[in-house]
């Protein structure tokens, strides 16, 4: 295999030029925080947690969408980036209504883990407390917009993996909402196959099965990644 030399945090590596900075970091145990990334589905660079500094480029670039290039010098988790990651985490929490103690995902939530990782001891910004709906119309699942962080992992999984395209995004700015079909209740969806993939892809307590209670949620986003690996191998 053709490889190219790159440097990440002073560590010299020879890597596959087809890979993203994030893939290379993960393979080499270099920690990068992510949220909208889910291995197996297409990356969109939306959460901005995985930003890295690259020598010679004056903008911070998202590791999940940026391919490595020969002689690239990358720095992850610099003081500046850490500061920004903490602000991002705070904005996530302030944007909708996150009450961990009564959430089904308590203890199993990627957003909660992010809060710990960035040492978010409190939130410095006023909570927006938007009015959000809880859609319980699906016979087995619930969609709670209070907990949604708009990572669109559900949208991409449903579209790219299940091929159903039940989920999409409506509106703009802080008014964006995940919608089922053309903004009809999930239970009335004519595209959803009730496969449950979005449930596992969702990093928070926004999508969950009705059969569970607070703190009991088990999410396995890795099943999506494994499924996609298997599909690739079959090809």
């Amino acid at each position: 295999m053709n490889t190219i030399p790159i440097t990440i945090n002073d560590k010299k590596l020879d890597v596959d030029p087809a890979k993203t900075i994030l893939e290379v970091c993960r393979e080499n145990d270099i920690e990068i925080l992510t949220m909208c990334h889910l291995k197996g589905i297409i990356d969109i660079g939306a959460c901005r947690l995985c930003l890295v500094e690259i020598e010679g480029i004056n903008k911070l670039l998202s590791a999940c969408t940026t391919k490595v290039a020969a002689n690239m010098v990358v720095k992850t988790s610099t003081e500046r980036i850490k500061k920004y990651q903490r602000i991002t985490a705070e904005l996530f929490f302030a944007e909708r209504n996150h009450v961990c103690s009564v959430c089904v995902a308590n203890g199993k939530c990627e957003l909660q883990q992010l809060g710990y990782k960035v040492e978010m001891d409190h939130i410095r910004y006023p909570h927006l407390f938007p009015h959000c709906e809880v859609d319980t119309s699906h016979p087995w699942y619930v969609m709670d917009h209070n907990r949604c962080i708009m990572c669109t992992r559900c949208v991409r999984v449903c579209n790219e993996v299940e091929g159903a395209h039940n989920w999409d995004v409506m509106n703009r700015g802080h008014q964006v909402r995940i919608i089922s079909d053309f903004n009809t209740p999930w239970g009335e969806s004519i595209t959803c196959t009730s496969c449950g993939k979005c449930l596992h892809a969702c990093p928070t307590g926004a999508i969950w099965p009705k059969a569970i209670v607070q703190g009991q949620l088990e999410k396995k986003p890795e099943i999506i990644s494994e499924l996609m690996e298997k599909r690739k191998m079959k090809l």
Binding site: I44, G45, A46, C47, R48, L51, K59, L60, L61, S62, T65, T66, K67, R80, K83, Y84, I87, T88, L91, F92, A94, E95, R124, Y125, P126, L128, I149, M150, D168, V169, N171, R172, G173, H174, Q175, V176
Partner: protein, 546 residues
């Protein structure tokens, strides 16, 4: 049509115009139409007919002449005499004295109500005297709905020259030599962009004209598309030839129905004459253009969002790299330029890149169109050499602040730009100088503010715009603009604290550095620039609640 036939047709069109002794242009840009210029045109045509002057006087609807506030405008050529606020009732009188008695009616001339002595030859009026028209040349002098008018004015000769005398590499070399920079906002060197697209090998490449123009108050691109659509079209075909593309898209916002109508008409006319379509002018180069209509989202002016929108997807930006030059529309190499950028191409090819580079400053060549608005005496559309000072624009061209007020600041670059205070009135209007003051050139919006403007409220207004127009994809912009807006609103309501101000500054830098696309990355600019130049106003709001 082949090359010889084009030359013959252009000659014939020119001859036809030369038969007339006089030409009267009635501005039929969107602004003048809204003040009734179409009736004026009809009435004038009747008047000329009743007087039996049809063979002596040519009457045409034209594009924008510039001083839009004074419309409807009517221009007499070759005298260059402009009448303002013309209505159907004074047409007979104007024709009688201007054409028959050769005595212009002074009190109806352009700026007659505000200048001590209005100018009979409008080119001598300071509003026009300081201007230099390259992109807007012919705009206001020809009928945009008639391709023969454009041909008579030398139109499509650049295309002919490019096809028959220059190789694609040579066309790119001219554009590079012109040192022209993209007029869509970022000022990226146009020649370099063309060369990059040219170098990518692909079975299909695309050329896109960005006519989304979403900045509030901006109407430069609209005026060019309405006033001289063939010029933009010619620029696109030349670009297609240079980069090796056979397909172009013109993305024009839906709020510009007249621009869309005229550009579509231009496509039809050009196709009919063989200036567009298969084997243009008998060469082996083919190029088609399709119009795509934008639905009015500001973010769809951002190139990757615009491309997604053309592809029929939700118009949201995606991270770059890869840049559109490498992977753009349908994943193919794509050249995307602004309307005004394309409008500058034909003159560069005709007169040479060196000619263009002689105007302007070393780093910002050529001219720039501005939409001058706000508290300014003479507002409208102007085109000046790059490097013209703000003072010249405000006081010489614009006639100073309205009602003799004091100049406080000029806002450039719209929601992505900043405010320039009075102490920097002598700043040269070019890319670098504006950036050094914390503002940007942007697409050419220029809003003049007097002492009555509250700068905190100005920052709040633009933040509200960005908050509403954020596509909502990335966190810093989606939530950050909302937070900054709410904090600014709090300070405007005299409820802000010093901590709010600190938070605001921290968020501004964060949003600027982490946002996915240019909308978020530049949304903090109005805030940061007012903080830089008018910090006292923020502190006054916080400390003294005033």
């Amino acid at each position: 049509m082949n090359r010889q036939e084009l030359q013959a047709l252009a000659g014939k069109a020119k001859g036809k115009h030369e038969q007339f002794k006089h030409k009267i242009c009635v501005c039929c840009g969107a602004s003048c139409i809204s003040s009734g210029s179409e009736e004026v045109l009809k009435k004038l045509q009747e008047e000329i007919k009743t007087r039996g002057l049809e063979n002596e006087v040519e009457v045409i609807p034209s594009g924008c002449m510039g001083p839009c506030n004074q419309g409807p405008l009517m221009k007499y050529l070759p005298e260059q005499t402009i009448y303002q606020k013309v209505d159907c009732n004074n047409i007979t009188a104007i024709v009688q004295s201007q054409l028959i008695e050769k005595k212009p009616i002074e009190e109806l001339l352009l700026f007659a109500d505000s200048r001590e002595k209005p100018f009979v030859n409008s080119n001598e009026d300071p509003f026009f005297k300081r201007q230099m028209k390259i992109a807007l040349k012919d705009c206001g002098d020809i009928n945009p709905e008639n391709i023969e008018d454009y041909l008579a004015a030398g139109g499509y000769r650049a295309l002919e020259k490019a096809f028959f005398l220059l190789s694609p590499e040579e066309v790119i070399a001219e554009v590079k030599q012109s040192r022209m920079r993209g007029r869509g906002g970022a000022g990226y060197p146009t020649g370099l962009k063309w060369e990059t697209v040219y170098k990518y090998v692909s079975d299909q490449k695309y050329v896109i004209c960005n006519g989304d123009e979403g900045d509030p108050g901006a109407f430069m691109d609209r005026s060019v598309l309405e006033g001289n659509p063939h010029r933009v079209l010619e620029g696109m075909v030349i670009a297609g030839y240079a980069v090796g593309s056979s397909k172009g898209y013109a993305y024009i916002r839906g709020e510009y129905p007249l621009a869309i109508k005229r550009f579509e008409l231009a496509i039809k006319q050009a196709t009919k004459l063989g200036l567009l379509g298969k084997n243009i002018l008998g060469s082996n180069f083919s190029f088609d253009i399709e119009v795509r209509i934008g639905a009015g989202a500001f973010v769809c002016g951002e190139e990757t969002a615009l491309i997604a929108s053309i592809e029929g997807k939700r118009g949201t930006p995606r991270p770059r790299p890869p840049f559109p030059a490498e992977a753009g529309l349908w994943g193919k190499p794509t050249l995307i330029n602004n309307v005004e950028t394309f409008a500058g191409i034909a003159p560069i090819i005709t007169n040479g890149g060196e000619w263009y580079s002689e105007t302007g400053t070393p780093k910002s060549a050529g001219t720039k169109v501005f939409a001058l608005a706000g508290k300014i005496k003479y507002s409208g559309l102007i085109e000046v050499p790059m490097g013209t000072t703000l003072r010249e624009i405000v006081f010489d061209i614009g006639g100073g602040v309205q009602n003799g007020g004091d100049f406080k600041a000029a806002q450039t670059g719209g929601p992505s730009g900043g405010c320039i205070p009075a102490e920097h009135l002598d700043v040269k209007m070019d890319y670098e100088s504006l950036i050094s003051l914390g503002s940007i050139m942007g697409s050419g919006g220029l809003i003049i503010m007097d002492k009555s403007s509250d700068m905190v409220d100005v920052a709040r207004y633009f933040m509200e715009f960005c908050m509403d127009e954020s596509c909502g994809k990335c966190v810093p912009c989606r939530v950050g603009t909302k937070m900054m807006h709410d904090l600014l609103q709090k300070i405007c309501d005299n409820k802000g604290t010093q901590i709010d101000l600190d938070r605001l500054e921290e968020l501004a830098v964060y949003v600027k550095e982490t946002s996915l696309c240019g909308l978020g990355a530049s949304a903090p600019n109005p805030l940061l620039s007012t903080l830089r130049h008018f910090r006292k106003e923020y502190e006054n709001r916080i400390m003294n609640h005033q």
